[in-house]
């Protein structure tokens, strides 16, 4: 069903020596997940454990006139009901970097439990703690909340108006970014060809299998210990701030996470669990229902995109003028940064000398929007790649040809000013998908048309350079030669832990089964930073690689000395210490090392590239460490009478640098593409005056396995990434192209450009009809 191919095309230079890295090893966590025996965050029952539940606002914008917990507290089995006033520090502040001057909000404030007013449907107001889950439901209904409805604002354009109700006191503009590279206005005036378009993307939910969940307890050491489904164990600091306790007294453990996709990058259950432990001293558990998760967790930002693209007659891009308006909902969270990613990537993976970007993120009384796989770099692909496609049509070039002509290469600069400093195989990904796709399919019925589309993208991996990112890993040999690796990475299902083990095994010459990885514990594993931003393989992978390399070197140094062998001849391999004579079995070699008093362990920290914070006017030598590019191809069949789109064939190709575990890489590519197809075709959080109408899977429709085409993943290995062994990040990149790929294929099939997501049959049909009224007969398809 899926293939990781293209390797024959690739020079694997130093890779030919690799023993463990590059092999599709079964993931260490796979079998137990399939068997259903993995214990996720809340799959832990503790003696005398209490249960908790949030009371959430039923209105999107209201003053809280009265919050009365008396009736709920008097219910048998209710242990406590907490309001904002009961939270030691009820305000959480979020930095909005780069916005010091132009926008008032230096920092964005949100409340753990709302006190004065609520700003979105589903906002937490009270925390109920009870002896059983049964009691919770009843108690929730007994918390009396009286609202005075306030006017809300539900459209980002309206929110910018002078008269618009203010979501936060200091105005509705959360963040604004500008890019001015060259002179886009003049270049557009002079360009022989100019394409214009407006595009809209929708609210999307992460829809992970495991909802927000966790348990917490006061441990023997007096530390409030929170076992939560999270991408960020470092939130222990924020939790400490809320509770007003020393940071050292909070510990966050992240066991295997049943899906994060950015939705568990901000805190979810953690502060509530901690508050309940602080209040009661007893173990507590919190599991959000699917309804809560869909209702109130941050979503993907809906964006309104306006593009103007100018080109020479030969297809060379000369200018792009891009406006982005993002609905950031009612809370800041990571909205400003999401928008920054959009701004930096909006012009696509192309060389273009004149680019102007104006991007704004605006508060509304919608659910907050924050991180979601792609992190703002996804939505813009829908706009940019539609433009490139239309440009190709106008110039009668094939879509692949126009992309090849403009494809970004090593040495080119992005509009923001950052230079691409590694070989980056965009052109190759285009060639690959076309070669693998073969001939176009035929329509299966007379009322159907088929079409083919491609789209390319670029996605940063690694965090913004001014965050001075680091990751640490500790690695040690046990006396018997088995290996312990400790690294604070949360494993969110991407095989993060297993890949680290594979890297360590490679460097230390041991069987991967002999490596045990301890991960995701803020107190007991070295901090490795967030499992976000497609950074873990890059950052923690490098940390593990560094630690393992140092351990290898210090071990071999010691063996050389103790055994009197030439250091240069020694290496670690399956036989233990090899070279310069008979192999020395590892346990014996380690005995020699210990005999010299040399430690069997190393703690190493990897530093990402550092840089300075940006200002509103973005211009920087470096914003991100590096980028991953890719190209997807779809063959679609459109039913012209119903508007139904069927994806017949789907290929996704990325330059992954190096596939540490090709199976995991393929999983990421297929999963990202599947998720992207879902938001292209069916998924949408629908809000009516701020009320969420899609708080259940009956309403919020994610595609099932039966609804998806087989996705063919193609990993190209340029070996040129900044991760270990030349790897690039691949967690987020594959979600970028699908919507544009499918829209381009639909355009090819029926001559109609879909500009709004999701591309429902009804929208397709409306577009077909609108065109029938206005346009001359369409030209023959000119797809790749």
């Amino acid at each position: 069903m899926t293939t990781v191919g293209g390797r024959d095309e690739v020079q694997r230079s130093d890779a030919s020596q690799l023993r463990v890295v590059g092999r599709p090893l079964p993931r260490t966590d796979a079998a137990e997940k399939i068997a259903g025996s993995t214990r996720y965050a809340a799959d832990l029952a503790l003696p005398a454990m209490l249960h908790t539940r949030l009371v959430r606002s039923t209105l999107p914008s209201a003053r809280l006139v009265r919050r009365d917990t008396a009736r709920a507290r008097s219910l048998a089995g209710v242990v406590a009901v907490l309001l904002g006033e009961d939270v030691p520090h009820n305000e959480v502040w979020v930095d909005v970097p780069g916005q010091q001057t132009e926008v008032r909000a230096l920092k964005a404030r949100s409340q753990v439990l709302a006190t004065g007013r609520v700003r979105y449907h589903g906002q937490p107001i009270a925390l109920v703690v009870a002896e059983s889950e049964d009691v919770l439901a009843e108690a929730e209904a007994l918390v009396d909340v009286e609202y005075e409805e306030l006017p809300g604002v539900f459209d980002p354009e309206e929110a910018l108006g002078e008269e618009a109700p203010r979501v936060h006191e200091d105005g509705n503009l959360l963040a604004e970014w500008h890019i001015d590279s060259g002179d886009a206005a003049t270049a557009l005036e002079r360009a022989p060809i100019v394409i214009e378009g407006q595009y809209r993307t929708q609210f999307v939910d992460h829809a992970y299998l495991e909802p927000e969940a966790g348990v917490a307890w006061l441990d023997d050491d007096g530390v409030i210990t929170i076992r939560a489904s999270t991408q960020v164990v470092e939130h222990f600091r924020d939790i400490a701030a809320i509770l007003g306790v020393p940071q050292a007294r909070i510990r966050v453990i992240a066991p295997y996470v049943g899906g994060g996709f950015g939705g568990k990058e901000d805190m979810t259950v953690e502060p509530y669990l901690a508050l309940a432990v602080l209040r009661t001293g007893r173990p507590v558990r919190m599991v959000w229902t699917r309804q809560e998760s869909l209702l109130a967790r941050p979503k993907r930002h809906p964006m309104r995109l306006r593009y103007r693209t100018g080109a020479e007659n030969d297809g060379t891009l000369v200018a792009q003028d891009i406006e982005i308006l993002a609905d950031t909902g009612a809370e800041a969270y990571l909205g400003a940064l999401v928008l920054l990613y959009s701004s930096v990537t909006a012009a696509g993976p192309y060389r273009c000398p004149n680019v102007r970007v104006r991007a704004r993120a605006v508060y509304t009384n919608h659910p907050p929007c924050s991180a979601m796989r792609g992190f703002g770099a996804m939505q813009v692909v829908f706009g940019c790649e539609a433009q490139i496609d239309e440009l190709a049509r106008r110039l009668q070039l094939t879509p692949d040809e126009i992309r090849r002509r403009n494809a970004i290469r090593e040495g080119d600069r992005l509009p923001v000013g950052q230079q691409i400093v590694t070989p980056i195989w965009l052109g190759e990904t285009i060639d690959q998908v076309l070669r693998a796709a073969g001939p176009r399919p035929e329509p299966s019925r007379p009322h159907c048309r088929v079409g083919r589309g491609i789209a390319s993208n670029l996605q940063p991996y690694g965090r913004l350079v001014w965050l001075q990112d680091t990751a640490a890993a500790w690695i040690g040999f046990q006396f018997d030669g088995s290996v312990t690796l400790r690294c604070g990475v949360p494993d969110i299902g991407g095989g993060q832990a297993a890949s680290l083990g594979q890297i360590a095994a490679e460097v230390l010459g041991v069987d991967p089964a002999r490596v045990t990885v301890h991960f995701g514990d803020s107190a007991r594993t070295p901090l490795a930073g967030t499992s976000t931003a497609t950074r873990q393989l890059y950052m923690s992978g490098n940390a593990a690689h560094l630690a393992a390399t140092r351990l290898r070197d210090q071990t071999l140094d010691a063996v050389a000395e103790a055994a009197g062998r030439a250091r240069g001849a020694l290496r670690l391999g399956p036989g233990g210490v090899e070279g310069g004579g008979e192999p020395i079995a590892l346990p014996r070699a380690l005995e020699l090392v210990r005999g010299l008093g040399v430690p069997l362990e190393v703690l190493a920290t990897f530093h990402g590239p550092r840089g300075r914070a940006v200002a509103r006017d973005l211009a920087a030598e470096r914003v991100f460490p590096d980028f991953t590019v890719g190209t997807h191809l779809a063959d679609v069949e459109v039913d012209c009478d119903t508007g139904q789109i069927r994806v017949v064939r789907y290929l996704a190709c990325h330059d992954v640098g190096r596939a540490i575990n090709p199976q995991s890489v393929s999983g990421q590519i297929c999963g990202g593409a599947a998720m992207g197809i879902g938001s292209a075709l069916t998924e949408e959080i629908v809000l009516e005056s701020g009320i969420n109408l899609t708080a259940g899977f009956f309403q919020y429709r994610i595609p099932t396995a039966l609804d998806l085409p087989d996705i063919e993943a193609i990993a190209l290995e340029s070996g040129a990434g900044m991760g270990p062994f030349g790897a690039r990040g691949i967690g987020e990149p594959p979600i970028g192209p699908p919507a544009a790929t499918i829209a381009n294929a639909v355009r090819d099939a029926i001559g109609v450009r879909l500009t709004e997501l999701p591309m429902t049959p009804e929208r397709v049909l409306a577009a077909i009809r609108a065109q029938a009224h206005t346009d001359p007969p369409r030209p023959a398809p000119t797809g790749p």
Binding site: E133, D134, A137, T289, Q291, D641, T642, Q644, L681, T682, V686, L693, T694, G696, Q699, R701, P703, T704, L706, D707, T760, P761, E762, L765
Partner: protein, 269 residues
Amino acid sequence: MIPASFDYRRAHDLDEATRWLGELGPEAKVLAGGHSLIPLMRLRLAQPSALVDIGRVPGLDTIRVDGDRLRIGALVRHAALARSEVVRRALPLLAEMAAEVGDQQVRARGTLGGVIAHADPAGDYPTLALMLDAEIVTTHGSHPARDFFQHLFTTPLQPDEVIREVTFPVAAGPHRYIKFRRRRCDWAIVGAAVQQSDGGWRLGLTNCGPTPMRARAAEAALAEGRTMAEAALQAAEGLTPPSDLRASSDYRRHLARVLTRRALEQAAA
């Protein structure tokens, strides 16, 4: 979510079930496959005080042909209908519908009686029952299908009345059911069923109103020798289907026409 608490009783026969239902009053509900009732309870959209489980009542899962009627026990599950040789010979359209109900899990548990009793306008069998003049046989007597689907989720069933079986006319002629949906295992956004029977066409529509619809005007148009395209227009004429998150009323009306025509053409082909 967890349902509110309720009483649970498992009936051994239908007499016991009706007696208990009578005692427990109108807040009690029959439980068959549970694939409509339990989801509603979990969302607390239904909070019955008690469930009387008829799932193990013997004799309600039979399928047989009796003269020109196909008689199907209330507890026959979707998967059994889809598989049944008897159904495939006597009323293949029903077997084809059954194979497309929900997903595999739903087909393994959900029952024909449950779908009929639930009277969801998006249910598939009610359309067939209505257009073919099925009879719904209960503990209390018998209801012709045309009197049975009164409104959204509304039937003439009394609180203590249980469906025993549903009888359809045998009809093995040209037929087709087209169920339009955006995901493979979803309910119909709109469904169009056509069946040739006694030399004429019977036409039905799923999810185009508060109840299943029979497209009588279109049937008449075909009987008068009008084209399938014209009949399809007739079928959609005057419909006022609901608008919801999945489709607007206009779009549903459009689908009713497109699907009716396709179903007719494919059945005739």
